[in-house]
Amino acid sequence: MRKVLVANRSEIALRVIRTCRELELDTVAVYSDADRDALHVRQADEAVSIGKPHARESYLNVDKLIDAARETGADAIHPGYGFLSESSRFAEACEAAGVTFVGPSAEAIAAMGDKAAARRLAREAGVPVVPGTDASTDTDVAQRGADEIGYPVMVKAAAGGGGRGIRVARDADELRGLVADAAREAEAAFGDASLYVEKLLERARHVEIQVVGDRHGNVVHFHERECSLQRRRQKLVEESPSPALESSTREGMAEAAVRLAEAVGYTSAGTVEFLVDEDERFYFIEMNTRLQVEHGVTEMVTGTDLVREQLLVAAGEELELSQEDVTPSGSSIEFRINAEDPDRGFQPAPGRIESLELPGGPGVRVDTAIYAGYTVPPFYDSLIAKLLVWAPTREQGLRRGRRALEELRIEGVATTIPLHLRLLEDERVLAGDIHTGYLEQVPA
């Protein structure tokens, strides 16, 4: 591996480029017409224009990306997160073009991408799953299954993911009223009308385990991240370790995640997501077969560069770390800074960054690709920065987070900074007494 094309944009493209440079790998950026002035373009060794702003014509265009790799002689493609990072078709296209896909095999992506098949695999690997049904295009199956499991239930699209295509039914009547719509929507959004039903665990925590596998049969976990502070199933704050779990729960989850990764022959960085109920019973929800937005908190507590591990195992190297070498220390918290106005229903707020002051000092990391004078385009995700802090204890981390959020000044666009500052005044957030529905309940 000599030259890596980064098939992404914004902070994650920059993040990957940084590690490539440390590994002395050449880098190729790609950019849409909306991203000519983007920082990832300036920081890469080369940059290739790949088309119109709309992602389908640029960052989601497999042919253009493969052509860009050919044109520049890139021998590997890192997909970042989002866009094509969980596309088995893209992984196959890379392989067919003789380019290393920096991710797991197309088979592993496909196996975990079909959420119902993933549940089946998890069960077979002895990993507890949320009580639910298999996927079916027959809506009666959903209905009968839900009656058996007990309400409330979630109706999910088998081909969905990332919180999309999910509906909640509190009783049989409500379910009857929405299955047909849900099937139609799944067909329109994902080209597959299959649905499955899962028990809705209320007041559950979202806790996920970071794993890395290599091509020599090794899988190592990097402990957990707690991501219970979410709005509409989009994470806003993540931390490691979880502020609440018993060490036996943590270990049980980590072992389960490793078993699942082994069962699918997982050969990259990935995340196994669980819900944890109030009795600390944990249930597998899905595996994200890519680098996660919030991977940084794991890097802060373990001292491991996960992108480096990802690149090395993609190049065929054996993991240098064994499980005993992964010894997390301290506490890390990430605050997602989105260009959204929390006081106006989180309305997206693209636009020009008039001025920018970044925080610094001990234990502070900012992953961002914005700069003063940069215009945040309206075409992509609203995430414009990730503010991460590390401290020896969670209490110190929370104080450091507040201090860093106060230092961070972004003028020109509305952001989620005021929301984070309010959350850091919230007794239950400070106590870690949270669940995935908590943010929806408090007046943001």
Binding site: A34, K52, P53, H54, A188, A189, A339, E340, Q347, P348, P350, G351, P378, F379, Y380, D381, S382
Partner: protein
Amino acid sequence: MADRKTIKSPMPGTFYRRPSPDEDPFVNEGDRVSSGDVLGLVEVMKSFNEVKSDQDGVVESFLVENEDAVEAGQDLVELGEG
């Protein structure tokens, strides 16, 4: 001369004439619309916002194509009294 008015984009983003790629356009040229009718969608940062008519009238013409990038305040649809 019929009085004409344009409907503008409330925000920057991508303009869509259809609720989803497989469905019919919200409205076509020549259609009579009432105030509050949805004329299209503007996608901004993965969130979809309806563009509604602020008056009764007839759709004279679309000033942008489906999936065009649009600016805040850009003219999208020309309405006539019909």
